[in-house]
Each structure stands twice: as C-alpha cells, then as structure tokens.
C-alpha cells in the first residue's frame, strides 16, 4: 500500500532530522528546505535519495529543483510513489 500523506510528512521529518538536525515537529508542509530547515543544495540531494528509498519513488534531478517546501516534496512523492 502506498504511504498516506501523513506518513510521507512524518517520514520526511525524520529524514530532515537525521540530515540537518531539525526537530521533527518543526518540519511542516509550508517550510522551505533551504530557508527554514538548514538543508543546503548538497544536503537536499541526501534528502532526496533517502526519500527515494523510503517511499519507493524515483525523483529525477530535474524535478528536485521544484521541490522547494516540505509540501512540494510530499505532494510529489504521493503522486509518483509505486503502489505496493
């Protein structure tokens, strides 16, 4: 079964916590990865790769630049994940 929106957001929060040290409760839909969550362009690649593994989704490099906020990423993952 595909992950729910809630599962995706909490999964992203755990990933951002691991990579940038931001408390999970601060990782909210409207937060910008670079401006609010201390995720620079290099760390963003780590977030993407971790999200790909966790949610069984492919996020091509060309799409990464469109993922500005946690909400953008959650929406992208929900749309593109492979249903199990």
């Amino acid at each position: 079964m595909a992950a729910t929106q809630e599962e995706i957001v909490s999964g992203l929060a755990e990933i951002v916590n691991e990579i940038a040290g931001i408390p999970v409760e601060d990782v909210e839909l409207d937060k910008s990865f670079t401006d609010d969550l201390d995720v620079d362009s290099l760390s963003m690649v780590e977030v993407v790769v971790a999200a790909e593994e966790r949610f069984d989704v492919k996020i091509p490099d060309d799409d990464v630049k469109n993922l500005k906020t946690v909400g953008d990423a959650a929406e992208y993952i929900a749309k593109n994940q492979v249903a199990k």
């Binding site: 691991e18 990579i19 040290g21 201390d38 290099l42 760390s43 780590e46 790769v49 790909e52």
Partner: protein
C-alpha cells in the same frame, strides 16, 4: 601600522589527540608519560601485518552534533574541534566580525593535512561498489579535498584574509604554521588560526605504510611500539588527531590585551632532493633547514633550551635528525632538552606539526620538557640529551625551543619559539 617584519605571538592553543580530547588533557598525558597506542580490535585490520595505532582519545562523534559531523571528513572533524578550543582559548567569543575584536578581512586560516580525506574517499568507493552511484554522498568532494579542514575552520571563524592548506606529507602541519607566520609578518593578516590534522587509520593506508617497511609491527606490546632513539625501534605508529594555534601580530595581541604564550620566531625550510621517501642519512637537508632558520631569525643557538624532535621511531630518520642537530648547533646541542613526543602520541602525519607545536608552546610556557617514553636502551648513535622517562624543568630567563617536522618527499620544516 608597520606592516612588515612584525613580531608574531601565540595567543591560543587547541588539540584533540590520542592522549586527550583537548590541549590540557593532552599535555597532562604527555607529562605522565602515557602511551596512546592500542591494539586495533576492528576486524578489518585482522589480516594486516600492523594491528596497532594511536586512535584519538575522544571520538569526534562525542563532541560534534551528527548533522555537522556527517558533512565533514574525520580529519576536518578533528581540525574543527581543535580550532574551536584554540579560538576560545585566545579569548575570541564568536566568529570574526561578530566578535568585534577582529575583522574578517584581517583573519586567515591555514590548516594542513598530509593525506586529506582518505577515509571518506575509500568509504564512498565502498558505497559506490556495494550500493551504486546514486548512494554516493554529495558531500564526498568537499570532504575528501585536502583543503577541506582549512576551509571548514575558515568558515567557522569567518576568515577572509585567506584560507590555505599546505601539503608536504608529515611536514604539512608545521609548514601551515610557518606559512601563517609569514601571512602576519608581511601584513596580509593580523590573526591566523593554523595547524595540522590527520585521520588515516584505515586498512589501506596502514597496509601501504606497512609495505614501505616504515611502521612498527610490535602488535604484542602496543604501548611499547613507538620508541624513538631506543635501540629496538622498528618504525612509526600511526596516530590521528589535530593541533591548532592562534597566531597574532604582537602589536595586535597587545592592543586587545590578549594572554601571550610565547613568540614565534619563524621557520627554516629546505628540501632533501635525495629520495621520495627515505631521509638523507647524513641529515644534510635537515641541517640546511636549521641553518635557514638561524639565518632568517634572530634565534641564538645558546638560547635553545628545548627541542621537540621529528623522531618518528624509524631506524634511519631518528639518527639523521640528531646528526643534523649536532652539525648545526655544535656544542650548544648539549644544553638542549630533546623530547620525542611521538613516543606517546604516535605519528599524526600532517597533524604532527600541529600537536607538536602545541606541545612546544606549552613546554616553554610551563618551562617543562615532556618526556620521551620507551627509551629502554638508548641507541649509542644518539648524540644528544634526550629527556627520558620523566618531564624535565627548563631554565628560567629567555629561552627558545625548536619544533622539527620532516615529510616524505624530502620536505624539512623547522619552527622556532621563544619565551616572552
């Protein structure tokens, strides 16, 4: 402001070494004559001829937050820890600019490493082979580049006068400090944070050094393995960690009322041009570096009371250095208390010049030469006064000390310090 030939002083020190997680515990370990060498229980070393090393006493993971640590090679982690200590020890409370005592444009950073991010390179190659290219860390390049530690320390303190990384194998740390002195002397900076770091305890470098016949294979008694000047020495023991100092123009330090440990007189430099890895057995290149030091500074041989030798515990290298000292200092060598602190810390390669500078500065400041351990039977070719077993008090009055570092490639760097 006189911007040339300015006097340079040491105002801060920091270290993380096999003897302790800071400069105070490292110094305490040295005075107690403690060995930081241990058996490597990691199974990756099980089939190697060398199974010993001097691991850092405090793992950087205990000190740095994980999100920061995962973006830094272990060598940069050590450098950052030592740099933070040195920066605070010098009395700075924030990065340059934020701490108004120093402008970013007048602050430099010169942190060297002999090998750079070798463990990052090798670990990420394992990731590539085992998990595929997508999983290779995007931080790999900034982590493995040998200027990484210097760049990260520069970012930490907001150094904008220049950030540099000298690379000359085991002379790198000393060359970094020498370069930092020049930056201040020629007016490019008022303050430079400088030193050396290394983190190369991985099966590949260990196997490679072992195959050069450069390392001690005394796996049975790790604490006895590093034994400079002893008849039974059979090579160096690899160590890891960092040593960093804050250098300032004397005028700048005085104006802000900084505590001054000692003066840095300058450096002597030369190259052997003899062999890529073997020392020139007569000490010709080392003697040339010592003479360069005497010609370019006002160091007087009769002032030299202490010398922190390069002495890595190799049969050839330890003697070549002693021969050079006798050639240049003559009878004045008789009143020099010679210490080989690698007997306790192991050989930190590019980090050696950093932590041995910290040790030399503290020896002058406390007027106490640290001991050389494991000299059970002094090699009769060692024609110098080695401080054995116990620390030895140094004389009162104005005294100077020398710190020697030599590297594969034939690089010779000699630094000199004097009490203020």
């Amino acid at each position: 402001m006189d911007s040339t030939n300015r006097i340079v002083v040491v105002t801060g020190i920091g270290a993380t070494t096999p003897l302790g997680g800071d400069s105070a515990s490292t110094w305490e370990g040295m005075l107690a004559g403690r060995s930081g060498v241990k058996l490597l229980d990691d199974e990756r070393f099980a089939d190697l001829p060398v199974k010993i090393a001097a691991r850092a006493a405090v793992d950087p993971s205990e000190v740095l937050p994980r999100p920061l640590a995962r973006k830094l090679d272990r060598s940069a982690q050590f450098a950052l820890i030592a740099a933070r200590e040195a920066w605070a020890d010098a009395g700075y409370t924030a990065p340059a600019g934020e701490d108004e005592k120093i402008e970013p444009a007048r602050l430099g950073a010169v942190i060297a490493s002999g090998i750079g991010g070798v463990t990052t390179l090798l670990d990420q190659y394992d990731v590539l082979k085992e998990k595929g290219s997508r999983r290779v860390s995007p931080h790999t390049v900034p982590m493995l580049m040998p200027n990484g530690p210097s760049a990260n320390v520069g970012l930490e303190v907001n150094a904008q006068a220049g950030v540099h990384a000298m690379v000359s194998a085991c002379a790198s740390g000393a060359e970094a400090i020498g370069y930092a002195v020049e930056m201040i002397r020629n007016g490019r900076a008022d303050v430079v944070i400088a030193g050396g770091t290394e983190a190369a305890i991985h099966p590949l470098p260990v196997a490679a050094f072992a195959n050069m016949m450069a390392m001690s294979k005394n796996n049975e008694e790790p604490e006895k393995a590093s034994r400079p000047y002893d008849k039974g020495r059979d090579g160096f023991v690899l160590g890891e960690g960092a040593g960093v100092v804050v250098l300032e123009s004397a005028e700048f330090a005085a104006r802000r009322g900084a505590r001054v440990y000692c003066e840095v007189l300058g450096q002597g430099l030369s190259a052997d041009s003899h062999h890529i890895a073997q020392p020139e057995p007569g000490g010709r290149g080392i003697a040339a570096a010592m003479r360069h030091l005497l010609e370019t500074t006002d160091l007087k041989p009769d002032q030299v009371a202490h010398l922190n030798a390069h002495a890595t515990s190799t049969p050839l290298g330890d003697i070549a250095e002693i021969k050079a000292l006798r050639q240049v200092l003559g009878d004045d060598l008789d009143h020099v208390a010679v210490s080989a602190t690698k007997s306790m810390t192991g050989h930190l390669l590019g980090g050696a010049g950093g932590i041995e500078t910290v040790a030399t500065v503290l020896a002058l400041y406390h007027r106490l030469a640290p001991p050389t351990i494991n000299v059970d039977e002094l090699d009769e070719e060692v024609d110098a006064d080695i401080v054995r077993g116990e620390p030895r008090p140094l004389p009162q009055g104005t005294i100077a000390a020398i710190n020697n570092s030599f590297g594969f490639g034939g690089h010779n760097v000699v630094l000199a310090f004097r009490t203020v």
